[in-house]
Subunit: 345 residues, 2 copies
């Protein structure tokens, strides 16, 4: 059994361009909102029955070519020893924010089976449920982005407190990053062992770094995590996503992932040319274009596909997560459009 | 009398590289915080005596090569007819958010002398106070970025509500942008007439747009505002700043400003080469590097200067506004470092 998503990850030709959508299990689906009425976000993440249900929803409703484990990048962080809460209108709040070596020393490296068994259990169930349909992607934050949340203690526009610690207390920063890197390495490995057929590392905030700082403070850690996974699972595709990667694209590529996740600011053809045509790319429609009328949306989809020029090694996706107010019918239409318009004659 | 800042704006050689700092009048200065104890942000913006005082502070304390009118890009928006408040911990709140043609129809185009006389008065006083010291830069938001605030009603990470309106109600969006463009055009013109010797257009959020959308929804308006000013004041430098311009740098340049303001994600030499060496550039140290110890900061300053290679037409600045927790002594040291290290032998 071959899956278009996995074939594309390996750079092999497919009948049509596979598509999945970042945050495809989300509030834009009424079926998801129904589940959220009975359980809050963290409960959904931690209860295999609910995780499985919302993970499967977009496969059923949209017909996407891959499922991605419903999770949050902060799930393992809680198990490192921080209190993680999701507050309405504020997003994640992590306490106490990490600002000292003592705080780093108190953090542990969670054992995936013992501490994150609910994730692995969800993956095992999902593989059984999905068999013969679509492959399952694992879900993991990249070290720098996780550090941003852990130091800042909440979301931020510029993560200047995180960068401040990085500059003012580099030994604290690097000790923290070591622990996070170990955590995500074994966590990603465990997800694949449990059945994830690919894994995506989300480095959402790495685009806030200058080239020099990305190279010094983010790249070495994510590179090590990717190498750890690759060594143990040489055939499992690793997708690496950054939001706002324009000035660091070559450095991002050197992290060693199988697939480069591109944000919407890139013109796909320009970025792909920079990366080299042998690279596998994922992306990169602006999530906001899903607010367009469908005839306009169709032009945008065509533009991305035209830029990909039917070359093997393109996975269609948005350039960032789908937004809660997105019209559900447009998400469904998007998947149909990509499948129809990309079908090789 | 020639000023290094203005000479550099015209691409002419200067004895040393001039520097000013975005948000140089700000909370990182205790002198500024003293003023804020007696008057809130909007009151400082609207009271010439206070505006003048805080505008002059960084000239006196840091020795920067230009003063920039202390203001907020939302100042003219209030006079268009929106209620603008700055709430602690939340930033600007604009009411009611613009979501319909009726709301756009209600907005007016403020007359600078009648409605924004306090700004022009501040400029006139500042010119007298500054004569013989440094030139004065005027301050103006660019249309797209102002529209983001007006539609969203508050700050946002992605301004997806603004982009949603842009896509779902393009006639409302364009009517709004027409009014904003007229407002900023006459406002910028009036600032120069009152004595501003250069003007900066802040298009902080334009970096959230794809190339196609920047070209369709932001560029035409800022281009028109710049042309309006240029036609009336052909010798007055116009600086155009975007945060996150990597993928739209060529389009940004086509807006027609005299100076391109670069954010810190660019390597200055790479960006300057893309723009062409005849272009005048401003930037682009990461504001967070001011948290580094001074010996490390010195290396970062040297790196930017090395990339500029002593060519005429470089104005040193940060790549975004200086942050409130910045150590005051590092801001002072930055200005000294730039002056010392760039002095032509």
């Amino acid at each position: 059994m071959t899956y278009p998503f996995l074939e594309a990850c390996h750079g092999r030709p497919t009948e049509y361009t596979p598509i999945w959508i970042m945050r495809q299990a989300g509030r834009y689906l009424e079926e998801y909102r129904e589940v959220q009425k009975t359980a809050d976000f963290m409960t959904v993440c931690k209860t295999p029955e609910l995780t499985v249900e919302v993970t499967l929803q977009p496969v059923r409703i949209l017909g996407v070519d891959a499922a991605i484990l419903f999770s949050d990048i902060l799930t393992p962080i809680e198990k490192m020893g921080m209190k993680v809460q999701f507050l309405k209108g504020k997003g994640p709040v992590l306490e106490p924010a990490i600002t000292s070596m003592q705080a780093v020393d108190k953090l542990g490296v969670p054992d995936p089976e013992d501490d994150l068994g609910f994730v692995l259990e969800s993956i095992r169930i999902l593989r059984r449920e999905l068999e013969g349909k679509v492959p399952l992607i694992g879900f993991c934050g990249a070290p720098f982005t996780l550090a941003c949340y852990m130091i800042e203690g909440e979301t931020s526009k510029d993560y200047s407190d995180a960068k401040r610690l990085m500059f003012q207390a580099p030994h604290v920063y690097s000790a923290l990053l070591e622990k996070i890197t170990e955590t995500v390495s074994v966590y990603a490995d465990a997800q694949i062992k449990a059945g994830a057929q690919a894994i995506q590392f989300f480095d959402t905030w790495a685009g806030l770094l200058s080239r020099a700082d990305y190279q010094a403070y983010a790249l070495p850690y994510v590179k090590r995590a990717i190498a750890y996974v690759r060594e143990r699972h040489p055939d499992t595709p690793i997708v690496y996503y950054i939001n706002g990667s324009a000035t660091i694209l070559d450095l991002m590529q050197s992290a060693g992932s199988s697939v480069i996740g591109l944000d919407w600011r890139h013109d796909l053809d320009t970025a792909w040319k920079q990366l080299g045509e042998g690279t596998v790319v994922q992306g990169n429609l602006d999530p906001c274009t899903l607010f367009l009328p469908q005839d306009e949306l169709r032009k945008r989809v065509k533009d991305v596909l035209d830029r990909a020029a039917g070359r093997p090694g393109h996975i269609f996706n948005l350039g960032h997560g789908i937004l809660p107010p997105t019209p559900r019918e447009n998400a469904i239409a998007l998947v149909q459009m990509v499948h129809e318009m990309s079908r090789r004659k």
